[in-house]
Assembly symmetry: C2
Homo-oligomer: 578 residues x 2
């Protein structure tokens, strides 16, 4: 049994390593092959490979990289590494999410703002010093760790992009591109928030931020520039702030669940994993079954009074007039990473699978059954009928189009639209016309059937909703069955190796969490071609789920780390992760 | 007569100069006064000045700067000069414009993209060289003049912001923040456009760009970072491209006319004023009556094959299979400048005047007539009735709110909402209630009256539309009466001094245009406190209006410049301008 486990573990490690090397190769290749993303544009060019060349199960990283390129979600920006061009299909998804979220926060009374993209090195120098003077060093680790090495006076965080010149003149004071906007915005919150009547004070902005990552980048998941929204709010009391943190978290979960058909687990980050400037961080965590990794979906932070004390954002206490209250702040952000999570979860060896609610094109109509014997009249008639079907669908608020390209075969078109993830394919030929039906094929399951034309306007919207729900339910079942509740330490690493995340009783101590990461690292593998030995990834905490799988008996349930000995405070979800 | 003109001219010059100096002072003051934008937040603080302290007619620049701050459209970003924070009322207007324009271009089939914000110095070096090699130097002046001094190998344009460091490491290759995205995008157009079937190829992006202006900045009008949309399209023929250029120009004009109630003149830019990379540039030009200046509203460029030849963006000729066609490209952009034009045109000494269609709040309901004798019950009843009025308006799709603040007098509230430009004020007190009416006051004209409550749902929307149209019509009449068609050179400068723009027969020669600018500069004024003498601004061409005021007789009508002697090609609109 143990041997078998060890073998499977080794095999997995080997596969992982191969995947990593292949991924690096693929990225290189993607940058040098002139037209990677253009599959299917020239029918005559038989050398071009249509569709994905590797299997998701066999080589997940390469599969992902090929997919986002070939489905035309992104293009590598070869001029500067770590940057990606977002193409229309990706922007459509992002805009759908934006619209959904924007409507919800407008209803909450949150207004939109737009702050400059640069922060001055002067303000960066000033703030932490004040903050340190005020007795706390939290901000030193704060603002998304950008200032993590602040203690070295000149040592700004490694991922800040610095503008030092305008034209050929050196700037007197260099400015950094925002990696997030706390330090840009909060001096103005101090100015604008003058009375408790100004609270809650709630602004959001949709923008781009830059973090010059040293780690390898992956489209959507980790990029040096990304689009996001960042909300920054201030409240009179801790309770009111906390309420909003969770309301926003629920909206983020709704984006994942309702639009992207991605199940998430809501919870709180541990001390080690929370936003360094926050009092506590709430998160929704997704799961990628193919490699068993957890992935942070979006976070909503209760900043407490950390920043308001540093920036002196305060109001007069409405009850005790002489007292000053430092406001309770929150910040929360959702980025284009969501698209990557959706692609990783739902995509398959044929390409993207986009949930209907967020898909630009929900139905693609394809003429079939045309042969060399078809007369021009018959052909025209079929195309006219297809146009009518499209109109019927449009009236039923279905986003539909007809693929009228005459230089491609139906088979080619099937593959092309499967690659692009259109949820439902409708085929229509003379035989269908004779029976007054259309034939369908679901993108998610491949299931086929027919729909009477008379029922098109009702059955297609229903089928799209069924697809949406089925996609969610399958993913949800998969996540549930791979969230193992463990009471024995020995089962942890095998569970990870079998692509699970685990829920274990945990003391919530940072040092214990560090130790758990160490303990769950695999042994070093055979050295690769680079001569370096690489251990498999240890697990880190993903969140302390709000929905606990079982009770923790105070002063009885022990932390699962065999070296720890402390009592557990919660069931905490751990996993290998992005 | 001449003396009188000279006097008025000198008086105007003096006023202009004073205004400039005062503007500089105000900007400085704005940055040092702790709370300029917070008028009206603390009722008890009687020292605070509510509303604008200078008159639009007397000191336009200061008036503008005070207004945008006090109406909370912007906040100065004191950390870095030339940058401004866009506050919610400004973002609301921008988002309204964005939504309007986005819907229109979606209907046209234009898709959304998002390119990285950086361009590599490598690509900047490469492209122009190739282009020079290909025989043209247009690009050298191209891309919004950013490369205007390209001929000096290392001399990049003065307004590019250069990122040279990430963290504390120097970048191997510096990258510049996009000032516009031609050079970022077109290498990919080459890659993506592979066949005439891919045409038209049309992408748009909404983003932020940076131009590190040396000139003095003004909120919205000239800023170092601004929001805009940039459309970049490619077509098979010159005709198809030209058609789109004008379709987009019409949309820009619609934004001004229909949303912002700003009349514009559509036309073509002269060679001197066109986008340097373009074949020709179309524009819509607005007019600010207070100082008689023209202001460029938005431009839509026919790039011809200038860029497609440089970047080698070509397709096979669908008719002559062996031939290669370089695509015909357009680019077009609309920026947050539109907000500044609207503020300048419609604002008055009381504050902003926002056209109803684009105003976040269309109606503000204010309780009046409450006295010391009012019982709490009467008060509650009135507020309940106001809430009902609000509901009625909301059902009629009017954006309305009640000002229930109990720490401000009605008079204070009137001034506050006038400052913020809400188009219609509805007052409601016990006397109104007794008569079953509401009293109204129009923001644009100050006109007052009553509306029976029973008619609220119909009359208020009508009144709002009337306000919208009246605002446009007044501005249109003003622009029309200040667009002087001149046939005598001697009248030109006096016309400018009387705050007009002029339409004159013009040869369209760049050198003649330069000379006209020189000839219309005023004489030097008395030296100011800085010891420098400053001439008044000469006029430049605004556009060659599509709608010509009269015919130009070929080989007969002369260019109006008395030194020119060439025949005129068109009536061209000239003016002092932003």
């Amino acid at each position: 049994m143990e041997e078998a486990q060890a073998q499977s573990k080794n095999a997995l490690k080997k596969a992982e390593k191969q995947a990593k090397m292949a991924a690096a190769k693929a990225e290189k290749a993607a940058k040098t092959i002139p037209v990677v993303g253009g599959a299917g544009k020239k029918a005559n060019d038989s050398k071009e490979i249509i569709g994905i060349t590797v299997s998701k199960a066999e080589n997940f990283p390469i599969w992902y990289q090929e997919l986002v390129l070939k489905a035309e979600l992104v293009e590598y920006y070869s001029e500067i590494s770590g940057f990606y061009i977002l193409r229309p299909p990706a922007m459509y998804i992002w805009n759908g999410i934006r619209k959904f979220f924007q409507e919800k926060i407008e209803e909450m009374g949150i207004e939109e703002t737009n702050f400059p993209m640069f922060l001055s090195s002067k303000s960066l120098e000033k703030e932490p010093r004040d903050y340190v003077a005020s007795g706390s060093k939290k901000y030193i680790k704060g603002v998304s760790n950008i200032l993590s090495d602040r203690e070295h006076v000149e040592g700004f965080a490694p991922e800040l992009a610095w503008v030092t010149k305008a034209g050929d003149k050196d700037l007197e004071v260099p400015v950094a591109v925002r990696p997030t906007s706390e330090a840009v915005m909060y001096p103005y919150y101090r100015k604008w928030i003058r009375s408790h009547r100004d609270l809650p004070f709630r602004l959001n902005q949709w923008n781009n931020v830059v973090r010059w990552e040293a780690k390898q980048t992956t489209p959507f998941i980790r990029t040096r520039e990304f689009l996001w929204q960042e909300g920054h709010t201030a409240h009179l009391t801790e309770e009111l702030a906390a309420k909003e943190v969770l309301e926003i978290l629920d909206l983020y979960a709704a984006v994942y669940n309702e639009l992207l058909a991605v199940p998430v687990v809501r919870g709180k980050k541990t001390e080690n994993e929370k936003f360094a400037g926050a009092l506590w961080t709430s998160t929704c965590e997704a799961y990628i079954p193919t490699n068993g990794r957890g992935i942070q979906g979006a976070t909503s932070h209760a900043l407490g009074q950390n920043f308001s004390k540093m920036f002196d954002i305060s109001v007069e206490d409405p009850e005790k007039k002489q007292d000053k209250i430092h406001v309770w702040q929150n910040s929360w952000g959702l980025s284009t990473r969501v698209i990557g999570v959706m692609v990783m979860l739902h995509g398959d060896d044929k390409g993207l699978v986009i949930p209907p609610r967020i898909s630009k094109l929900q139905v693609i109509l394809i003429p079939v059954g045309l042969t060399a014997k078809t007369t021009p009249e018959e052909r025209t008639k079929l195309l006219t009928q297809l146009d009518e079907l499209k109109s019927t669908l449009k009236k039923a608020k279905v986003r539909a189009d007809v693929d009228t390209r005459d230089n491609y075969s139906p088979g080619y078109k099937f593959a092309d639209w499967e690659l692009k993830g259109v949820p439902l394919r409708l085929e229509f030929g003379p035989k269908d016309a004779a029976q007054a039906v259309v034939s369908y094929a679901r993108r998610d399951t491949g299931a086929k059937g027919t729909i009477p034309i008379a029922n098109l306007a009702t059955e297609v919207p229903e089928l799209l909703e069924t697809i949406q729900k089925d996609m969610y339910n399958r993913a949800d079942e998969s996540f549930k069955s791979h969230r193992l509740v463990l009471r024995e330490w020995e089962k942890v690493v095998p569970a990870l190796d079998s692509r699970n995340v685990v829920l274990i009783p945990f003391c919530e101590e940072p040092s214990c969490e560090e130790r758990i990461k160490e303990l769950t690292k695999g042994q070093e593998q055979e050295p690769g071609p680079d001569g370096l030995k690489q251990p498999t990834m240890g697990m880190k905490s993903l969140c302390i789920p709000f929905e606990q799988p079982d009770i923790i008996v105070a002063n009885e349930t022990k932390c699962l780390n065999p070296e720890c000995g402390r009592f557990a405070k919660s069931w905490t979800m751990f996993g290998r992760s992005y």
